[in-house]
């Protein structure tokens, strides 16, 4: 497929762990994530969601098949090139926020740019702007343990966006948040998505997934089905009868 409009593409990806019996965490997954799209991934525990995110996030390489991120085949890259790609093309948001405990908010947001050798003042400036965009303009000097869970997740989101990545990966980003805070974060996702960022969000919860354009259902390392939602996203797709398209490899 054309890669210009594609942020990420996976073809026949298999990830096998061999601890005694081989475990196929992913078992032949093919997927195109168009630029600027908003995709949710659902599936039962152990179905391979995090494994998929690690591959797309260039943290890992597939056992078989190809993963193309930002136009480059991740499996063929050296460790250093993969790290570079990860730093520039991908932004992570984790369930447990994963902020550096001894860095304050603005430093945490600026951290990815530190490793891209971007000038200190420039880093601070950009990090401050992003914190303002996520509504934390008055908290930039706070340490992570001085912030609420929702505020931490907003810092993490700002950090994910700091290098202008092609795609933002969020693995259960609202798993540790209460409903109101969750809504705030999801609203921010919408906002950034509308700004053109490609979003890939893993979730267990239907109402979170329904913010996306489509939902990919994983089961036992395979794409069970891809559910297309109506463009406007959000609540009107409350009925389970969204538009469904044919499952991955059945």
């Amino acid at each position: 497929m054309a890669s210009s409009g594609t942020a990420v593409s996976l073809s026949n990806v298999r990830k096998t762990y061999r601890i005694g019996e081989p475990v196929h965490a992913l078992d032949g997954v093919s997927l195109e994530v168009p630029r600027g799209s908003y995709t949710a991934i659902m599936g039962p525990s152990g179905s391979g969601k995090s494994t998929l995110m690690n591959l797309v996030g260039c943290l890992d390489t597939p056992t078989e098949g190809t993963v193309v991120v930002g136009g480059r085949d991740v499996g063929t890259l050296s460790d250093r090139e993969r790290t570079r790609l990860r730093g520039t093309e991908v932004g992570f948001v984790f369930q447990t926020f994963n902020l550096m405990p001894r860095l304050n908010a603005v430093e945490n947001v600026a951290l990815p740019q530190l490793f891209q050798s971007i000038d200190r003042d420039e880093r601070r400036e950009r990090a401050r702007n992003l914190l303002e965009r996520v509504g934390l303009g008055d908290r930039i000097d706070h340490m992570p343990n001085e912030l609420s869970g929702g505020q931490r997740q907003r810092v993490a989101l700002a950090r994910a966006l700091v290098n202008d990545p092609a795609i933002v990966l969020a693995d259960e980003p609202s798993g540790n948040l209460d409903t109101d805070t969750e809504a705030d974060i999801l609203d921010l996702f919408d906002e950034f998505h509308e700004g053109g960022t490609t979003m890939l969000v893993v979730t267990h919860e239907r109402h979170v997934a329904e913010r996306a354009d489509r939902i990919i259902h994983l089961l036992d390392g395979k794409i069970e089905r891809i559910e297309e939602l109506d463009g406007a996203g959000g609540s009107q797709a409350g009925s389970p009868a969204g538009r469904e398209s044919g499952g991955g490899d059945e």
């Binding site: 992570f92 951290l111 490793f115």
Partner: protein
């Protein structure tokens, strides 16, 4: 990542564990402090001793006769072989400015008028030029053959009523006999004038060898031709014509001699040394009959003699450095250990950094910087402590304080090296942490 940024981040995590970091550096602190303190002492000792060799002393060659392999510094194993005739002949040599005997005279007490102080070995017999004119602040050098003396300030001030030029002192020699000296000069300070005396400050009275040494020697039979202690050797060398001539009614023989070269140039010193040795070992000298096959004339400058003292000092220094090296080794194991703990503790942080684009070398650099900072902090604290300890030690033994500043630089370099060596493995472990595992790490 820019090294300054590594430094900033590493410094932060060290500050995050103040107590732990301080304890970690203790081994380095102690090791470096020991070296710096001892080196300060050594350098000060050297300055206190060697610093006293004034340029004029540099042209003196100190001589004695001993078996070639005798060890233990000046006069070790020395035998009295040199006669006054020999010294006069040496002084006449072309390359020699002056030559005279040297002897320490055993005394019991010294009286200035009514007042008497006990003094054991404060009388030194030598030639007039032994006390250089520029070191005499009052009066003049003594003259050979006269009952005169030059005293140093410590000797002059040991009486209630200070000795001044023109006073007469009465000296009770070890044998009990009394002798008188007229003070004709006072020196500028009380430090020793040659390695024969030692350089420490103490009361000393300088007198000419004639008459003082000659008298005492003939009284005690020291070095007298045919005396019991030299009889065998004189028999061995007896075939020489010159030998008989020297055995003239108990002439004093010197254990130690001082030969002054034309100048302090190495060439002049070597020339003086060579012609003196040639003469003394030739049949023309009185000494040759006693030298025989066993004894050899040793002629050394004070720098060379101090070189031997230096050897002892160096040995001691190496010993301390050895102990310090062990302390540094223990210190670096301490740093390595804490760094490993720190890497494990921060597994998750490492995972985060790698997930957001930190290269292996960034992580490596970060942890290496941290352990180098620990090493350098240890080195700086150790240097400070060592300098203070060295200062106190130098004050205690009353030496001029000399800080060996090059060792401060060396200490910092050692701190850096120890930091790198100790941090290498932990940093490597950190660098190769798998970000997926690290992020999953609780």
């Amino acid at each position: 990542m820019n090294p300054l940024e590594s430094l900033r981040l590493a410094w932060r995590s060290i500050r995050g564990h103040r107590l732990r970091s301080a304890l970690t550096t203790l081994g380095i602190v102690i090791g470096i402090a020991a070296v710096i303190a001892f080196v300060t002492l050594g350098a000060s000792l050297q300055a206190g001793v060697i610093g006293d060799i004034s340029p004029d002393d540099q042209r003196n060659v100190y001589g004695w006769a001993a078996e070639p392999d005798s060890e233990g510094g000046p006069l070790a194993g020395a035998q009295p072989v040199f006669t006054q005739d020999d010294l006069e002949a040496v002084e006449d040599l072309e390359d020699v400015e002056a030559a005279y005997g040297y002897a320490t005279l055993q005394t019991q007490a010294i009286s200035n008028g009514e007042e008497t102080v006990a003094q054991g070995s404060g009388m030194i017999a030598s030639g007039p030029s032994y006390i250089r004119e520029e070191r005499i602040t009052e009066g003049r050098q003594f003259e050979m053959g006269a009952r005169e003396a030059v005293v140093n300030p410590a000797a002059a001030n040991q009486f209630e009523e200070n000795v001044s030029v023109g006073d007469t002192l009465t000296v009770a020699m070890l044998g009990g006999q009394q002798t008188e000296v007229e003070v004709v000069g006072i020196t500028d300070n009380s430090e020793g004038l040659s390695p024969f005396e030692g350089f420490e400050s103490s009361p000393r009275i300088y007198v000419p060898t004639d008459p003082y040494y000659t008298e005492q020697a003939s009284m005690l039979g020291i070095g007298a031709g045919g005396g019991a202690n030299t009889g065998n050797q004189s028999g061995a060398g007896g075939d020489a014509g010159a030998g008989n001539q020297s055995v003239t009614g108990g002439e004093a023989r010197f254990l130690a001699i001082i030969v002054e070269a034309e100048s302090a140039d190495q060439a002049d010193i070597d020339a003086a040394r060579e012609s003196t040795t040639d003469y003394l070992e030739s049949d023309a000298s009185d000494a040759s009959e006693l030298l025989g096959d066993d004894l050899e004339v040793q002629l050394q400058t004070s720098t060379e003699l101090l070189g031997q003292l230096q050897d002892v000092l160096n040995l001691l220094q190496n010993f301390i450095v050895g102990i310090a090296a062990i302390s540094l080794l223990v210190g670096s194991i301490g740093i390595a250990n804490i760094m490993l703990v720190s890497v494990t503790e921060r597994t998750r942080e490492i995972g985060i950094m790698k997930a957001v684009g930190a290269q292996n070398r960034d992580v490596l650099g970060l942890f290496l910087t941290e352990s180098v900072i620990l090493g350098v902090i240890g080195a700086i604290l150790g240097t400070g402590l060592g300098l203070v300890a060295g200062y106190l030690g130098v004050q205690y033994i009353d030496l001029p304080l000399v800080y060996p500043l090059e060792y401060v630089a060396i200490a910092i370099i050692v701190g850096i090296v120890v930091g790198i060596l100790a941090g290498l493995y932990p940093a490597w472990r950190a660098a190769r942490t798998d970000p997926i595992d690290a992020l999953r790490y609780e």
